[in-house]
């Protein structure tokens, strides 16, 4: 299954960009999968969001009224005390066939999250076809078997449509620093009404987007995350 893989997003715990970028990438993957004519038009599968206690303390909990409208009624939130429990919950989630994707937030570099456990997660995600997006708050990029590893931070948003002084739609500076199948690069991404689009970024235009080869087509609504 395309996109059913394990990705990591590294972000600071003092801003909301990590979870937001992971959500945007995950929804983009789902939307890309939904172009398959055989798949269901209306996805009603639940979404799992696992947070360990430290991540909740740093970055807060998901807020219903700020979630994308199509996720509001199908979110299952799991609060765990320790990173080991978080890994257990993530792996159980990946084994469940009724979940659309699994999003995890783990703060720091806990001892439990070593290469072996990340390999377990990758294998479970690929075997059962449930994508995993693991947000690492305030973490060093240590050894991991994630297929895609992003470094995320907030980018200055484009001007808002009605109020030039207001913050615009969410934009992120996403740096793909480790990936299996394509060269690393940096993009400025923004969530444009459910589609993830890349703003023109001279630094990366030559290196190409992860799987399409050029960003002009990527901006036409195709997925950056499905690899």
């Amino acid at each position: 299954m395309a996109g059913a893989s394990h990705s990591e997003v590294f972000a600071s715990g003092d801003e909301g960009c990590g979870a937001a970028l992971a959500l945007a990438l995950a929804r983009d993957t789902l939307a890309a999968a939904a172009t398959n004519p055989l798949s269901e038009t209306d996805d009603r599968r639940m979404v799992l969001w696992v947070q360990d206690r430290d991540a909740i303390k740093r970055g807060g909990r998901p807020y219903l009224h700020g979630l994308p409208a199509d996720l509001r009624h199908r979110l299952i939130h799991v609060e765990v005390k320790s990173p080991a429990d978080a890994l257990f919950a993530l792996e159980e989630g990946l084994r469940c066939r009724d979940l659309a994707f699994v999003l995890g937030e783990i703060a720091g570099n806990p001892r439990a999250l070593d290469f072996t456990s990340s390999r377990r997660l990758s294998l479970a995600a690929e075997k059962h076809g449930v994508p995993l997006w693991l947000v690492r708050l305030d973490a060093r990029p240590d050894l991991s078997s994630a297929r895609l590893r992003w470094q995320a931070r907030s980018a200055v948003s484009p001007p808002a449509r009605w109020n030039a002084h207001a913050p615009g739609i969410a934009s992120w500076r996403a740096e793909l620093f480790r990936a299996r199948t394509h060269p690393p690069g940096t993009w400025t991404l923004r969530d444009d009404g459910g589609n993830l689009v890349a703003a023109g970024s001279p630094a990366s235009e030559t290196s190409g987007s992860p799987h399409h080869g050029d960003l002009v087509r990527a901006a036409g609504g195709r997925s950056l995350a499905a690899v």
């Binding site: 003092d14 801003e15 909301g16 960009c17 979870a19 937001a20 970028l21 959500l23 945007a24 639940m46 909740i56 303390k57 970055g59 807060g60 909990r61 998901p62 807020y63 219903l64 009224h65 700020g66 979630l67 509001r72 009624h73 979110l75 299952i76 939130h77 799991v78 609060e79 765990v80 429990d85 257990f88 919950a89 159980e92 989630g93 084994r95 469940c96 066939r97 009724d98 979940l99 059962h128 449930v130 931070r153 907030s154 980018a155 200055v156 948003s157 808002a160 109020n163 002084h165 207001a166 913050p167 969410a170 934009s171 992120w172 500076r173 969530d191």
Partner: protein, 515 residues
């Protein structure tokens, strides 16, 4: 048919003491007492005690004055009620259903049943014999209505054979006119009123006239306070619904072991067998278990109980076994476990399903129910939940958490006027903000040791406190959506404004993060 156990508490005490009718402690004056705030009070007394002067409701000190050698035992009203429930089920042998008439009576519906026993007379004789064999003192009556049967059982003339029958189709009012008004099952104060009015018998009530009674008790709606309603119920002019006692069978399987087991793998095997037995039991009833209790009886008399609650009805033995396996880790077998019992104390209807299709799907992953059960067993009941909207405009109160598979409560649709952050802090964190007083935009703020320069801002969105539930000193909040120089988007608020008379300088808080 009404059955009145005239001495239920005393009979039960005597039976539990294993005393004969005449010999043993029953020959001595005995009283069953309850401890009250004013000292022990007599609930019931046996025959010798009653002859000596002890009456129900009397203080024990008064009874001791009358009969210094009276002995006491504690009374047990809860046990009496449980005993009465069992008797209610047992007495369904005389009719299709029976109802409790607490504290010490039963009503059995014997409509169109009497011919099976050879007539009403023989039905009564059979019931009396059955209760006499159990040493229970009963008074029985059969009447066309439940109320009339109750009245006859309690206040009818005691006949030689101990039961009375009121044949239907005749003038019931005339036959019941000799009974006292207490036979109407009225409250004590209503009986006092009737006594003061000089109405002592049911016949007297008929003499007063319906209109007068109606006027006198026109504001009494409850049947126990309105003699006219009760009279109509006795005579069958008004319906009197009764609540039947229905036995519920709890699915229960158990294994008694020849050899006490002390090792975990043997216990797992027993659990495996029990789970399969339970699945078969539940399948026969067309039900699935929601709560399961596993009892382990140890050789040394200790009982270990492990309970399990499931998010949805299930009877999958492998699932049950796996969930219990986690709970059995801390079992101390001691000298060995001799009996293991599995009980489904809460079961819900679960339709039979085709096994093979589900089994093949199982290879491709677990279902949502099984997934949630596994998480809750390891992480606890409250760790797994989902957000649902709640009717409040305060951000932190406008969402609540509930178990993930419960249906979402009905709520009003949201108006998409305002942006809300993706994530909200559990507790808003205080920040130091530079802003133009009294209510200007924030210019820069300090939070978690870093200084953020505000570049773009939208606001304020003013949220008033919920005056109907908060203290009058709660302050309004002005929310600002800001973006700092590096593009980080936050949700801040100022608690109060200068001069609102609810505290000093307003404080600023960081409350949420936008994507």
């Amino acid at each position: 048919m009404a059955i009145w156990f005239a001495q239920l508490a005393v009979d039960r005490w005597r039976l539990s003491d294993a005393q004969g009718e005449k010999g043993g402690t029953d020959a001595e004056p005995y009283a069953l007492i309850t401890e009250t705030a004013h000292g022990p009070r007599v609930d019931a007394a046996n025959r010798a005690g009653a002859e000596a002067g002890a009456r129900p409701g009397m203080m024990l000190a008064d009874a001791r004055t009358l009969c210094p050698e009276i002995k006491v035992a504690p009374s047990d009203p809860a046990g009496d009620l449980a005993f009465l429930e069992k008797l209610a089920l047992w007495s369904r042998r005389w009719g299709p259903w029976s109802a409790l008439d607490p504290p010490d009576g039963l009503i059995v519906d014997v409509t169109a049943v009497a011919h099976l026993f050879g007539g009403e007379r023989r039905l009564l004789a059979d019931a009396r014999k059955a209760f006499a064999e159990r040493d229970l003192d009963v008074r029985l009556a059969i009447a066309p209505t439940a109320g009339a049967a109750w009245a006859l059982a309690h206040y009818g003339r005691r006949t030689a054979d101990g039961g009375s029958i009121l044949p239907g189709g005749q003038d019931m009012a005339a036959q019941l006119s000799d009974l006292p008004v207490a036979a109407l099952r009225l409250d004590g104060d209503v009986l006092t009123v009737l006594r003061r009015l000089g109405l002592k018998k049911l016949g007297d009530l008929a003499g007063v006239g319906r209109d007068a009674l109606q006027r006198r008790f026109r504001n009494r709606k409850s049947p126990t306070a309105n003699p006219l309603l009760r009279l109509d119920q006795i005579l069958g002019r008004l319906p009197e619904p009764l609540l039947p006692v229905v036995p519920q069978q709890v699915p229960l399987v158990q294994r008694r072991l020849m050899e006490p087991i002390r090792h975990r793998d043997l216990l797992d095997q027993v659990l495996h067998d029990l789970a399969h037995d339970m699945a078969r039991e539940l399948e026969g009833m067309g039900k699935g278990a929601r709560r399961l209790e596993l009892g382990l009886w140890r050789v040394d008399g200790e009982v270990l109980i492990r309970a399990l609650e499931l998010s949805a009805a299930t009877r999958d033995p492998a699932h049950i076994k796996r969930l219990f396996a986690v709970k059995l880790d801390d079992i101390d077998a001691g000298f060995g476990i001799e009996t293991v019992r599995l009980r489904a104390s809460w079961a819900e209807p679960l339709a039979l399903e085709q096994g093979e299709i589900e089994a093949s799907a199982e290879n491709h992953g677990t279902s949502l129910n099984a997934f949630i059960d596994r998480l809750t067993v390891r992480l606890g009941q409250n760790a797994v939940c989902r957000p649902v909207p709640h009717a409040s405009h305060l951000p932190e109160r406008s969402q609540r958490w509930q178990p993930p598979l419960e249906p979402e409560p009905a709520s009003q649709g949201e108006l998409a006027f305002n942006f809300r952050p993706l994530k909200l802090l559990d507790r808003a964190e205080p920040i130091a903000v530079l802003y133009a007083t009294p209510d200007g935009y924030p210019r820069s703020f300090q939070w978690r040791g870093a200084v953020h320069e505000v570049v773009r801002v939208e606001g304020p969105e003013r949220l008033a406190p919920e005056w109907w539930r908060e203290k009058s000193s709660a302050r309004l909040r002005d929310y600002y959506r800001i973006e700092d120089r590096e593009g980080r988007r936050y949700w801040l608020y100022r608690n109060g404004i200068i001069g609102d008379g609810r505290g000093g300088m307003p404080a600023w808080f960081m409350h949420g993060f936008f994507g």
